[in-house]
């Protein structure tokens, strides 16, 4: 937590769209006049390797260029990382927010994260992705859940950005599927605390 800057850490594995989600959120925030930073943490690249990405959002120009030490929000795109790596590293145990991709209830993760008293939310992002996009890429429903839990930005501005960005690369069908995934992530997230 740095004064006047909201910091988000995204956990996942390479290939799950971790970087894309962190960028998408940042760019949607920029369209609303915010200053942003988004960057992945690169290690040795290979599909399936654990990786992190970060998003910073602020009303003022962001000067800091060091890594994110004390994130306000944690988004876990791959639930198998809970217990494998310290997803709570640097997080304020009272005020932090954790959102996990899982079909299970938040209470299940409360037990796995002893000491954490902040807001905890889960959403079956992989399930939603399979339904809507036909592929197990959970980043977009996670983004929808994040918007619901935090009220960071209006959902519409993320929809706008997603439509615009994905249309450059993907077919209309995939774009539609992703928009649905975003919406369902937003609707179906279960929040505890």
């Amino acid at each position: 937590m740095i004064e006047n800057i909201l910091e988000i850490r995204w956990h996942g594995r390479a290939g799950q769209g971790v970087k894309t989600a962190s960028y998408l959120l940042a760019e949607a925030a920029m369209d609303l006049g915010k200053y942003i930073q988004a960057f992945p943490e690169y290690g040795p690249e290979r599909m399936g390797a654990p990786m992190a990405a970060y998003t910073r959002i602020s009303d003022e120009k962001i000067l800091i260029h060091s890594g994110v030490e004390n994130p306000d929000i944690i988004v876990v795109i791959d639930p198998t990382l809970v217990g494998t790596i310290d997803i709570l590293k640097g997080v304020d145990l009272e005020k932090g927010i954790v959102i996990i991709n899982s079909a299970m209830e938040p209470a299940v993760f409360r037990e796995k994260l002893p000491g954490f008293k902040g807001k905890l939310a889960t959403v079956d992002a992989t399930g939603i992705a399979l339904d809507t996009i036909g592929r197990p890429i959970p980043n977009v429903p996670m983004l929808g859940a994040l918007i619901k839990v935090t009220n960071l930005l209006p959902l519409e501005s993320v929809e706008e950005k997603l439509k615009h960005k994905f249309s450059e690369k993907f077919t209309e069908k995939i774009v539609e599927g992703n928009l649905k995934a975003l919406e369902r992530g937003y609707q179906e997230v279960r929040i505890d605390g």
Partner: protein, 389 residues
């Protein structure tokens, strides 16, 4: 007000290059500058630029092709990093002697070994004697602005130029940047005017000069290189008139009444500004001097700021084996010898291979400086930080 966009700095660099629309780009990709070339080749493929794009098989060939094209009068650009820049070394010296105004984008990276792809300033430091202009950007905005300015600077000075930004920390981060329209960029840089024609039969290009004349060529080159400083200021001012973003060889941040001044380059300067704000709020007189023009060293500008400080903390994201300290420390402490009474000076080697430099590290350096001001001194003048002790 220009329009604001957000993209990875490497993509932004390619965007700037496309706005410049150079005649020739010859390149070989290397991490973390790969996307610059990759994205630029898309502009070429889409017919959005008129550039002759020459994919080559090594950086040595890339810079050789660039030099050939520049010699023929073309406006030429490329991008590289780390070992790629090191491989260019031989030709870098010829390009600066040939006064070829090539513009090279560098996403600064550690030199191997051990193999490391992350950001530090070893690559640009290792070629600082090659006679190139070297500018270092703090963030995406400055990276864009420096690339646009690199063209008039290089062509007026008749020297090749490197505009760098930190590998990964900046190259792979998305930030907001305000950009110009292509027409505005074209108007700002103007058309390339070749100094001579290669078809001029009276001209010998790439002469041999032995004991009887080599040193005069070098003396002339050295004198002209010193003029770069004023050209950088002049272009920075013109760019400011166009965009509202004025640039000088250095940037002062709360230095006027500062007792302790940190000197830093690249993305660290941004983080240091945050710490300066925090410590100022606590009543400490600290400030930052950001070096934007790394070569030639803007000696007078640096001395002008540092002369009134009590302690100067110089941050080097590079090291010179067996040297007196890091590259910035060596240059600045040599420059400060002109002063009758110099401030206390300390050197911090940090962040090699992309090791994160946190606000807490920077605060510690300032605190060391404040202690020195109070007369307690240091245990060491050259200190490595962000390292396992």
């Amino acid at each position: 007000m220009g329009k604001k966009i957000a993209m990875e700095t490497n993509q932004l660099a390619a965007f700037a290059m496309a706005q410049i629309d150079p005649d020739v780009v010859a390149a070989y990709p290397i991490t973390p500058s790969t996307e610059v070339v990759q994205e630029f080749s898309k502009y070429v493929a889409n017919g959005e630029v008129t550039t002759e794009f020459v994919p080559v098989e090594s950086e040595h060939s890339a810079i050789s092709a660039c030099l050939g094209a520049a010699t023929a009068g073309a406006r030429v650009m490329t991008a590289t990093a780390s070992q790629g820049l090191a491989l260019m070394n031989e030709i870098l010296h010829i390009a600066s002697s040939a006064r070829a105004p090539i513009s090279v984008v560098v996403a600064s990276r550690a030199l191997s070994g051990p193999i490391n792809i992350h950001g530090d300033h070893m690559d640009i430091s290792s070629i600082r004697d090659a006679g190139w202009i070297i500018m270092v950007a703090e963030d995406a905005q400055e990276a864009y602005d420096n690339i646009i300015q690199s063209i008039p600077i290089a062509e007026r000075a008749k020297f090749p130029i490197i505009t760098s930004y930190d590998g990964f920390i900046t190259s792979h981060a998305v930030e907001v940047a305000e950009v110009l329209e292509k027409e505005e960029v074209q108007k700002f840089i103007g058309p390339k005017k070749p100094d001579y024609s290669v078809f001029d039969e009276k001209l010998t290009i790439g002469v041999l000069a032995l004991q009887d004349s080599y040193i005069e060529f070098k003396r002339k080159q050295a004198a002209d290189y010193d003029k770069v400083i004023d050209i950088v200021k002049e272009v920075g001012k013109e760019y400011g008139d166009l965009t509202g973003r004025y640039y000088d060889t250095v940037e002062k941040y709360m230095t006027d009444d500062a007792e302790v001044i940190m000197v830093a380059m690249g993305s660290t300067a941004g983080t240091a500004k945050v710490v300066v704000d925090q410590m100022r709020a606590e009543g400490h007189k600290v400030g930052l001097l950001k070096i934007r023009l790394f070569r030639p060293v803007p000696k007078d500008d640096i001395i002008g700021v540092l002369r009134t400080a009590d302690a100067v903390m110089i941050m080097d994201r590079a090291y010179t084996y067996g040297g007196v300290g890091g590259p910035l420390f060596e240059e600045i402490s040599a420059a400060m010898n002109d002063l009758p009474c110099r401030p206390y000076m300390a050197n911090y080697i940090y962040g090699l291979g992309g090791r994160d430099i946190k606000p807490s590290h920077i605060r510690q350096v300032f605190e060391d400086g404040l202690k020195a001001v109070k007369g307690c001194g240091f245990d060491q003048q050259i200190k490595w930080i962000t390292v396992r002790e």
